[in-house]
């Protein structure tokens, strides 16, 4: 018996479409009003963007294997959002500068993560968890009650607004699509990307094949930090305001998005397309539960159960008995 094989990103996307269609027939759904359906679909996609971008760094780190995970992503998002907010302070001309600082700050946190994980052999889970605490500490120090700034108009226009009044596609979605292509290029069409997969599978083989494993690992964590920084920049462009708990709600969903997208949590196999699909699925479920007016307790149960079902479909590890 040859089993029908559907690649995880496609499976997640199909699931997303089914869920979306299903949501249409709920009491508060779009029914058969095509305009509302499009509006809802656009909206969900737009909301997925931020989770999707933040999950990009997570994808890289998880792909790099050896229990790779980045639990500092949430606080890095907050940190870089606050930095952007303060540095830009309403001035369009400062946006690019703030953008670079956001990436750099994220990369710096990522670099420290990478150093601890690569050279001090601290497990990524605990290292990034502890760094998350350090970054939160930094945020408190920077913030302490009187952070002052403002998002520049150009950021709002480029991120939160639609392309043009006639084309109601939010810019964020366009940014995401371009970002997705860049991520694909990075993972599949650069030496670095190939090396990320390689160190995710087997670091001895990688080393003996001439890959600089430590440098690649450092680069992965730094890049993941920078991508979280980019996420922070985008999020603040969307919300227009900052607050200390801005990034934390994105953390665990970012990991879930990677898993739902079919990337092996043990590393070495997966794609950013999958993560994008995963981000859409998660956002859809959340929004679906909102539309259904479930109490919080039921929502959590449903979310948990759905996750379980999805990982049961393609998250199973090889059995011992063959």
């Amino acid at each position: 018996m040859k089993r029908l094989y559907i690649s995880p990103p496609v499976a997640a996307l199909i699931l997303a479409i089914i869920l979306f269609l299903l949501s249409g027939f709920l009491p508060n759904g779009f029914g058969n009003d095509i305009n509302i359906a499009i509006a809802q679909a656009t909206n969900i996609l737009r909301l997925s963007v931020f989770l999707g971008v933040i999950a990009a760094g997570q994808t890289l780190v998880i792909l790099s294997g050896y229990e790779g995970i980045d639990l500092s992503a949430g606080s890095v998002v907050t940190l870089t959002a606050i930095l952007t907010y303060v540095l830009v302070n309403g001035r369009d001309e400062k946006v690019f500068y703030a953008f670079l600082i956001a990436l750099l700050a994220g990369a710096l946190v990522g670099l420290i993560n990478g150093l601890g994980i690569t050279f001090l052999k601290i497990s990524p889970f605990v290292m990034t968890l502890s760094m998350s605490g350090v970054v939160t500490g930094l945020i408190i120090i920077i913030n302490h009650g009187n952070v002052s700034g403002k998002v520049a108009p150009i950021m709002t226009r480029l991120i939160a607004r639609p392309l043009s009044p006639n084309i109601p596609i939010p810019n964020a979605i366009i940014i995401w699509v371009i970002f997705g292509i860049l991520m694909w290029l990075l993972l599949e069409r650069t030496t670095f990307g190939k090396h990320v997969f390689a160190i995710g599978v087997n670091r001895v083989t990688s080393r003996l094949s001439g890959i600089n494993v430590n440098a690649t690992n450092l680069a992965v964590y730094s890049l993941a930090g920078a991508l979280a920084g980019f996420g922070g920049f985008l999020v603040v462009g969307n919300t227009g305001v900052v607050f200390i708990a801005l990034g934390q709600p994105f953390l665990f969903p970012s990991i879930a998005a990677v898993a739902v997208g079919g990337t092996l949590l043990s590393g070495g196999k997966g794609s950013y397309w999958g993560t994008m699909a995963g981000a859409i699925v998660l956002t859809l479920i959340t929004s679906l539960l909102t539309t259904m007016q479930m109490p919080e307790s039921i929502r959590r149960v449903v979310l948990g159960a759905t996750l379980l079902v999805m990982i049961s479909i393609y998250g199973r590890q090889r059995g011992f008995r063959q």
Binding site: F197, N202, L208, S209, G268, K269, R321, Q322
Partner: protein, 506 residues
């Protein structure tokens, strides 16, 4: 009581791949059966069926002529069947004693494990291989600290400790040196005398003829012949295995009579190399020369290659084309046109879940620019595949879909594309079927003809003698002998391996 086990018409699929289509096997107590077949012929699957690791799709097992189910390794053990695995079933973090007695630990009345007894029994088992072990082994050493051959011996002891009536030795000799093999064979004969049954799986024809009473040959998952060893010759056996004639004639072609390496310039020069396990190693290798490294297993051969490749720290001088180099990591060694084919291909040479294409290009991606020219890469990989006669469904299939020999071709193939000047080979034919072996030999010969320098460690003495211009024999971390031309005989090689110094010019 005489016991017997019989496997009849066993069928096993892995996904779409047929591992066994009609596997048959009969063994009785007091008998040594050699299970023979090329790589990928289903030998390991067969042993796993008997051991309960594999859930087979068709056929049946008979124990003492009665149908029997063996649903788990535990069940196999309860039936008195023990297996020595090719891939070790040892837990590296645990001690030798814990590993051997795992699941059968002697308990005190408090249900706590009786440490004293367990250590004592372990000592008794270790005594069986006394004299062939390099280090003084204590039962409470973690297994991870042992060299591969000693791990293999622990694995064997673990099987024996069960006191089974049937022992399956799956490539158990592959990482043992000749003294250890000798000792193992003594033990096997003793077990035979005790009316035990032994299934012996090996690629070494010589060993099979030395020890086995009967043979059973698998080809492409199907049992194609069985009988008594004394009724068959090695050539006939090989023919059964591969349906082709005369490939076993591997050695003669190699040294390529017209070679004039003596006039070639020296490529690699090693002087007074020292690491944790080797010392005072000095030698020179010319371009176009194939120099063998021999000796018993674990005498520092691996470290020698890894040191040259920059993977482990060393002191001493290494010169390439008269230029002193000191590689701090494999990366720089590769940049200096050196390649290494590591000893454990699964652990060191391959990315199992990635595609064949990616494995072939692992060291080579930087050649394809940005964005990577995938089409060009595929074309190059296909060429390599053709050159190596790589049997595969597609370049995009994972390496895990390949048989052992084909996987090893990928390990070598990834270097061919870089076309390095110097190859370091760490026992590349270990666990590879004869067919693939002969392909390797002609590949190596070809490389030498192109002026490449090859340093070739092999645990197979015949291979070294047949293939190499010169063999450096390592013993206990030093070069005990350098054998060339007339001195390159099996006698001298074995003598030098054992540390006897009359084996030729040192």
């Amino acid at each position: 009581m005489s016991r017997s086990l019989s496997a009849q018409h066993i069928v096993k699929h892995y996904g779409g791949v047929v591992a066994l289509s009609d596997g048959n096997l009969n063994i009785q107590s007091g008998e040594i059966l050699a299970l023979i077949g090329a790589n990928g012929s289903g030998k390991s699957t067969m042993s796993k069926v008997i051991n309960g690791v594999v859930d087979f799709d068709g056929g049946q097992l008979l124990l003492d002529d009665k149908p029997v189910q063996i649903p788990s390794p535990q069940a196999a053990k309860n039936l008195g069947i023990a297996t020595v695995f090719q891939e070790l079933s040892l837990v590296p973090q645990m001690t030798i004693a814990d590993n051997i007695w795992l699941t059968r630990e002697p308990l005190k009345s408090t249900k706590a494990i009786n440490r004293k007894l367990i250590n004592q029994r372990t000592e008794e088992l270790l005594a069986l291989f006394e004299g062939t072990l390099r280090t003084k082994i204590h039962p409470e050493l973690p297994v991870s600290t042992l060299p591969p051959d000693e791990k293999q011996i622990i694995e064997i002891l673990k099987a024996i400790s069960l006191n089974p009536w049937l022992i399956i030795l799956d490539e158990a000799t592959a990482s043992l040196d000749s003294r250890q093999v000798d000792r193992l064979f003594e033990l096997i004969r003793r077990w035979k005398a005790e009316d035990k049954a032994i299934i012996f799986i090996s690629h070494r024809m010589e060993e099979i003829f030395r020890i086995a009473d009967r043979f059973s040959v698998l080809r492409n998952g199907k049992t194609v012949g069985d009988g008594n060893m004394k009724d068959i010759t090695d050539k006939q056996l090989v023919q059964l295995m591969i349906e082709r004639e005369n490939v076993y004639e591997f050695t003669k072609a190699s040294t390529a009579a017209e070679k004039t390496t003596s006039t070639n310039p020296v490529y690699l020069e090693v002087e007074d190399l020292e690491t944790d396990t080797i010392r005072g190693i000095s030698f020179k290798v010319k371009e176009g020369e194939l120099v063998g490294i021999g000796g018993l297993r674990g005498q520092g051969q691996r470290d020698l290659l890894l040191a040259i490749f920059g993977d482990i720290p060393y002191s001493g001088k290494i010169k390439i084309k008269d230029q002193a180099v000191h590689f701090k990591n494999p990366r720089t060694a590769i940049k200096h046109s050196i390649a290494l084919v590591p000893g454990e291909r699964a652990r060191e040479g391959l990315l199992y879940i990635r595609s064949i294409l990616e494995n072939l290009h692992l060291p080579n991606w930087d050649k394809y620019g940005f964005p990577l020219k995938i089409r060009k890469a595929q074309e190059d990989a296909r060429k390599i595949g053709l050159r190596l006669n790589l049997v595969m469904a597609s370049l995009m299939e994972p390496v895990s879909s390949l048989s052992g020999g084909n996987a090893q071709k990928v390990v070598i193939g990834k270097w061919l594309l870089r076309d390095p000047q110097c190859y370091l080979l760490d026992d590349p034919t270990k666990g590879v079927d004869v067919n693939t072996k002969s392909e390797f030999y002609s590949l190596l010969t070809g490389l030498c003809k192109d002026g490449k320098t090859i340093l070739f460690y092999s645990s197979d003495d015949d291979e070294l003698i047949g293939l190499c211009d010169r063999v450096l024999v390592l013993h206990d971390g030093v070069i005990r002998a350098e054998l060339t031309g007339e001195t390159l005989t099996k006698e001298n090689l074995v003598a030098a391996s054992l540390g006897v110094t009359n084996g030729g010019a040192a």
